[in-house]
């Protein structure tokens, strides 16, 4: 009995110590533990929460980081007032909210934005207002081809082509079918990239654009399989990917064709949802590091979320994106004189961001001053669904997207990456 008590006591102490250790692990701001008390700096964000999908994990993670920052000295003593708005996937509302944040709340910067519709609706307004957006997640083409908008994620096209690169290198694919949503500037844009690359490499390729609102996934998957491709690459939101894979499994196609997907399907719930029938057969592109990676910045992200986020906030790639956006905003604002933080100075500071290193990124992030479009994250890796979890199966590799030529030229001339 006494031995058990001692063991019990020892394990209790160890648990407490490790818990305390974990508590102290979140690192942000100056790590002083002193809350910031100066005049708040207003940073805004627009996210698509209510609607076909919930993108708000990005802004939740950014909020957690800003809360951590405010508890640790803020931006040289000034706390960040982070205002998040839900545009309900409606571009009209997105425009209203942008007006609110920029004109009424006088935000100096936007960080962590994650909305499907706001890039198209607001890019022009942001440019006219002179405000920069360090977005968390962008999806349609407009998010990657706007002067004032720089997402931390790679985008569906770059991501899909990363998957295709893997198919070419590791799966020796000779024919590919691309399934994308028939949303203009998303599906056509992504699958066009596949067709372009296929033409360059001399592969057979086909595009199928499907209505994401369709109830009939079986016909689409039959159409895709009709030409007997080696791989089928999906560029659909996860709410549409799961029924499509279900329909494919119903038809036994998970055994005969390899299915790949852009990073939109990389979510911790997906392997468990699609089931054991897909073990080893569904390979997904990752725009950021493995969610459970033990590298320092990834662990810091998890620690920040544990300490300053809600327990119910999902720790997914959107959250990684939001955390990174918040850190980039912090890095930029820290270079400024705290007495002179305005929209102009904040924009100038963000423009100068280059070589932002984080082990969540494959390659250092940069804003790209002078570029008319921004797509700094274009190096990705792949993971396979295995036993209800994701298993990373490849190293970081630059995406072979032909459209990235201007980005690569800019990177070379600026001495980046």
């Amino acid at each position: 009995m006494p031995i058990n008590l001692k063991r019990l006591a020892l394990s209790l102490v160890l648990t407490l110590v490790s818990a305390f250790g974990a508590q102290a692990a979140a690192s942000c701001g100056d790590n002083s533990g002193k809350p910031a008390t100066g005049e708040p700096i207003v940073i805004g964000a627009i996210t698509g929460k209510t609607g076909p999908d919930d993108f708000s994990n990005s802004t939740k993670a950014a909020k957690a980081y800003f809360d951590c920052l405010n508890a640790n000295g803020g931006i040289r003593g000034r706390p960040v007032k982070y205002l998040v708005e839900d545009d309900q996937w409606n571009p009209e509302i997105a425009a209203q909210l942008a007006a609110k944040l920029v004109n009424d709340e006088k935000a100096v910067l936007m960080a962590g934005n994650s909305s499907f519709v706001e890039c198209g609706a607001n890019a022009d307004f942001y440019k006219k207002s002179g405000i920069l957006v360090v977005a968390g997640v962008g999806v349609p083409r407009e998010c990657f081809f706007a002067e004032n908008y720089a997402p931390t994620n790679a985008g569906p096209r770059v991501s899909m082509l990363g998957a295709m690169g893997y198919a070419l290198d590791k799966l020796s694919a000779k024919s590919v079918v691309c399934i994308g949503p028939n949303i203009p500037n998303v599906g056509t844009w992504s699958c066009d990239g596949i067709i372009q690359l296929a033409k360059e490499k001399g592969l057979a390729a086909e595009t199928i654009l499907m209505d994401p609102g369709t109830a009939d996934s079986t016909s689409t998957i039959l159409q895709a399989a009709a030409s007997k491709p080696d791989v089928i690459i999906l560029g659909l939101p996860k709410g549409v990917t799961v029924p499509l894979l279900t329909a494919a499994e119903e038809q036994g196609l998970n055994q005969s064709i390899k299915f790949l997907s852009a990073a939109s399907a990389y979510d911790l719930s997906v392997p468990g949802t699609i089931g054991a029938g897909w073990d080893g057969n569904f390979i997904v592109n990752m725009e950021f590091n493995d969610l459970e990676a033990t590298t320092p910045d990834n662990q810091n992200w998890l620690a920040v979320m544990d300490q300053y986020g809600q327990k119910s906030d999902p720790r997914d790639t959107f959250a990684q994106a939001g955390y990174l956006a918040a850190r980039i905003a912090e890095t930029a604002l820290m270079t400024l004189d705290p007495g002179n933080i305005t929209r102009e100075t904040a924009s100038a500071a963000v423009r100068q961001v280059k070589n932002f290193k984080s082990d969540i990124f494959c390659a250092p992030w940069y804003f790209g001053d002078g570029q008319s479009r921004h797509n700094a994250n274009s190096t990705t890796r792949m993971a396979v669904s295995e036993g209800g979890k994701w298993k990373v199966v490849s190293d970081c590799a630059p995406s072979p997207d032909p459209e990235l030529k201007d980005v690569r030229i800019f990177e070379k001339s600026a001495g980046l990456n």
Binding site: T50, G51, P52, D53, D54, N182, I208, L209, M210, D211, G213, T214, A215, D216, T218, S219, T220, L222, Q223, A226, K238, G239, V240, T241, V242, P243, T246, E250, Q251, G252, S269, T273, I274, G275
Partner: protein, 288 residues
């Protein structure tokens, strides 16, 4: 261009439309209310079933719970809220069912969110193979359920006292009351029956299509196309129409230029039928 596989996959989606369409017409014939919340009643039942399965409850318990939840909500609406609108015209009573649909979408959104989920039944693993396309037993069950419902309700409406009361009620509420039809009892019975049906249909739809609250609720709109083709009257015609519009939607897939628009097939077919058959609005649809 081989369209045979698509005819079979069309049977799959057609089963979905047939099931929902029959459910709509059943309630309409029994109470004169077109229930826009039919999908929502089923969806919340399906979510409850999914939740119970996540908690490792046996399948039978989950199915029973789903049907019970759907029936309870349908009963509640039919007993307490639908009578409040009974003095308004048909369209307002139908628009009134948007209210429970919205409330249920809100409840499902708050509790479960819009994360894609999969509801799986053991019958998904068993299949019959036709023209190199597999038709899972779940889809076959859906078709059978639609047919069984048609037979059962037709028998109920034509052979039983309750059915007679229902038809009278749907035709003219006030006159039926004068004639001694137990209005509240009959109406509640109709809503309960539709609730049971929506629970079963909801489970099948969640398995066959996807388990997502808003999506399952909005499936009622193409189901209305099947109901229109059945002229809001004939259950058999609705079921067959549902299968046919499903097949039509599926066989358009291989035709590249029309494929992005194929989801509009149910609507276009319903419109064409109405235009060609003319204002063949039967007496059952007279203005009330």
């Amino acid at each position: 261009m081989n369209i045979l596989p698509f005819i079979i996959s069309g049977l799959g989606i057609g089963a979905v439309y047939a099931l929902s369409g029959v459910g709509l017409v059943v309630l309409f014939r029994a109470t004169g209310v077109l229930n826009f919340a039919f999908g929502a009643f089923g969806a919340i039942g399906a979510h409850c079933a999914w939740q119970l399965l996540e908690w490792k409850m046996p399948l039978a318990v989950a199915i029973f719970a789903a049907v019970t939840v759907s029936t309870a909500i349908s009963f509640l609406y039919g007993r307490l809220f639908a009578p409040m609108l009974s003095h308004r015209d048909v369209v307002v009573r139908a628009v009134g069912t948007l209210a429970p649909a919205l409330i249920l979408i809100a409840i499902m959104g708050v509790i479960w969110g819009e994360l894609p989920r999969r509801l799986q039944f053991p019958t998904d693993q068993m299949f019959v193979s036709l023209f190199a396309v597999r038709l899972t037993f779940t889809r076959v069950i859906a078709i059978f359920l639609a047919v069984a419902m048609v037979v059962a309700i037709t028998l109920l409406l034509n052979r039983t006292r309750l059915g007679l009361d229902m038809r009278a009620l749907a035709n003219d509420r006030d006159l039926s009351a004068v004639l001694g039809v137990r209005i509240l009892y009959t109406e509640t019975a109709a809503w309960t029956i539709t609730g049971i049906f929506s629970g079963l249909a909801g489970l099948l739809l969640a398995d066959l299509v996807r388990l997502q609250g808003t999506f399952l609720t909005l499936l009622v709109i193409p189901a209305i196309a099947a109901a229109i083709l059945g002229q809001l009257r004939s259950l058999w015609e609705t079921a067959v129409a549902g299968l046919l519009i499903g097949i039509a939607e599926a066989v358009l897939t291989p035709i590249a230029w029309i494929s992005p628009y194929r989801a509009a097939a149910p609507f276009i077919i319903a419109l064409a039928a109405v235009t060609i058959l003319g204002g063949a609005a039967k007496s059952a649809l007279k203005d009330r």
